[in-house]
Symmetry: C2
Subunit: 339 residues, 2 copies
DNA sequence: TTGAAAGCGCTAACAA
DNA sequence: TTGTTAGCGCTTTCAA
């Protein structure tokens, strides 16, 4: 019965040479006899030798593994980001370890512990909506563990970040509502602490101010739980003495919940109330009426985050955190009126 | 300047005890003085000690990491499966490393190499549509590396598997078409080698045979590329001298492509042609008309695969491969006629 | 209850 | 060009 996994020692023994020579041959070192190298590589192939990265990692103190933490893997936006991270990383010989915080700070912390214990070379994180305080990340930075934040970022940390232009995206969305004749535009978002929600709200405010529409506190609703609360939020808006004639939603799932309420109530979209979402999830082009929304380049965000991260590793000395802002795009569909 | 990461040696030095005692204390071994243990745990916390799993793994020859290979992370079905795997694994102290084959055998192989080099404790795999030959997996089995296949499985490997009841799901879908009055039902699927496509085709055939409808070769189309080919396939079906009055599609994305063609041609759904999909992706409930489809418990499939895998690791000796078949559910919506 | 020591598989000085 | 050796951080046997 043969060994489950051959080691360089097995190769060395069979070839009657030293393990360091085998090591050199495998790593394509310059100072090794071509014939020796050939023999080693041949035997390695024959025995289905696979280098033990665990041992390598321990020795060179680098795992070539990136830890990734997202709120929810199954959200289309995040799975697209992950896809981008994975593809870029694989190309550069990095593996990725993935965790989901499920929007819980507690789980986020335990994810990070697990990843640090696994000695990932650093972390790519999109914060949970519960995360207001980032002490747990400051510890990492003190330990010199590289971090890149994406999408759900915080200004409290001096690290590289990748975001889309949330402010401008929201601005464009609200501007489109105004240009198509809406005058009383509501906003449904998440908690203040959620970076993307806050930025989009700012974009909303700046857009209405820019077009001389008074800001009305009543028209802005923050949801704690974005999976459920927007339904109630929509009802609340409809019960207002002065109904809004448009709702700008912080993302597509929120917009879809709002749309369901409007449909139930028999309110015509976009004539009575217009609707704009954010993200451009696949659903939004197929729903009836199809959703006007702001597209975010999710896949590209993943690629960019991985790229920034690997660059940081390659330039440990002269590294300066940078923030990449990716462009958004207004996708006009049928939940907004024609110009 | 302090060490980026404390080791048990650091703890031992500071406490003036041996590293083996520290190790024991940290692992909650029975034979260690409670006071010593307390001191160790306190100092560990104070120094933000994180055990080095790389070193542990090398020593105990177990990484507590599961390798996962899926065709495409960003497909909703797979990201849901991954979510299930991740959650179950994390609960049992396993990390997961994720790769995507992008439906390429070559990439699938290189993914597997990477994961094996990282000495994952085993693999959870959903095969690429290109994978007809599974030699690369037989090598792993020879090396005693545990494998669990899910969804895209093969009968050529004697390992544990998790699938949904594709045959029965397809049967139910086609049966529903027949019961709602369809008589000439087409099938659009993937390559024969793709397990799920093949099973669903069998379900289709058995259903029409069961209801005494003759099988017509013309009505069955296999697509190489499921992202693009179904459009052409639909056109082909429409150009048939005798048009079908229903199309059973091997999954929802295919059904959506078919629907687009039907809409362009102004064909009424479901009156002229009915449509049934498979998977129940989120899109299918929102598209107009909403898609009748077969729901697959993706998240549960992930949980089950992870569970089977961990059970296998825990029972190495007396392990026997088993296949779990999860139930499907017919979701009746508006692309099929009323009963 | 504790410590000394070997060794997991690999890399990288250093020596030959 | 090759070999010897130490050691990455940990677990575990054996002895004290």
């Amino acid at each position: 019965m043969k060994n489950p996994q051959a080691t360089i020692r097995d190769l060395a023994l069979k070839l009657n040479i030293s393990i360091s020579t085998v090591s050199r041959a495998l790593r394509n070192a310059p100072d090794v006899n071509p014939e020796t190298k050939k023999a080693v590589l041949e035997l390695a192939k024959q025995l289905h030798y696979e280098p033990n990265r665990v041992a390598q990692s321990l020795r060179i103190k680098k795992t070539n593994t990136i830890g990734v933490v997202v709120p929810e893997i199954a959200m289309h936006f995040f799975s697209s980001v992950i896809s981008g991270i994975q593809e870029y990383s694989a190309k550069h010989d990095y593996s990725i370890m993935i965790c989901q915080s499920m929007e819980s700070l507690r789980t986020e912390k335990s994810n990070i512990h697990m990843l640090v214990s696994n000695r990932v070379d650093g972390l790519l994180i999109s914060l949970s909506s519960q995360t207001k305080n980032v002490e747990h990340l400051e510890h990492l930075i003190a330990k010199q563990i590289p971090i890149v934040l994406f999408d759900r970022i915080t200004s409290d940390l001096d690290v590289s970040k990748v975001v889309v232009d949330d402010h401008n995206g929201a601005f464009k969305g609200v501007e489109h509502l105004i240009k198509t004749g809406c005058k009383r535009i509501a906003f449904i978002g998440g908690p203040d602490s959620l970076y993307v929600s806050d930025q989009r709200l700012r974009g909303y405010r700046d857009a209405i101010r820019n077009y001389n529409i008074a800001f009305d506190e009543e028209l802005v609703i923050h949801c704690k739980d974005l999976h459920t609360d927007p339904t109630e939020a929509t009802h609340k808006l409809l019960d207002l003495p002065q109904r809004p004639d448009a709702i700008f939603c912080m993302n597509d799932p929120v917009a879809i919940l709002a749309m369901q309420v409007l449909k139930e109530k028999g309110i015509r979209i976009p004539d009575e109330i217009s609707l704009v979402g954010f993200t451009n999830e696949p659903v939004s082009q197929f729903i009836e009426p199809s959703l006007t929304t702001i597209a975010q380049p999710a896949y590209q965000m993943g690629q960019t985050a991985a790229k920034l991260f690997i660059q940081q590793l390659d330039n440990k000395q002269e590294f300066k955190p940078i923030t990449k802002v990716l462009p958004t795009e207004l996708i006009i569909r049928n939940t907004t009126r024609k110009l």
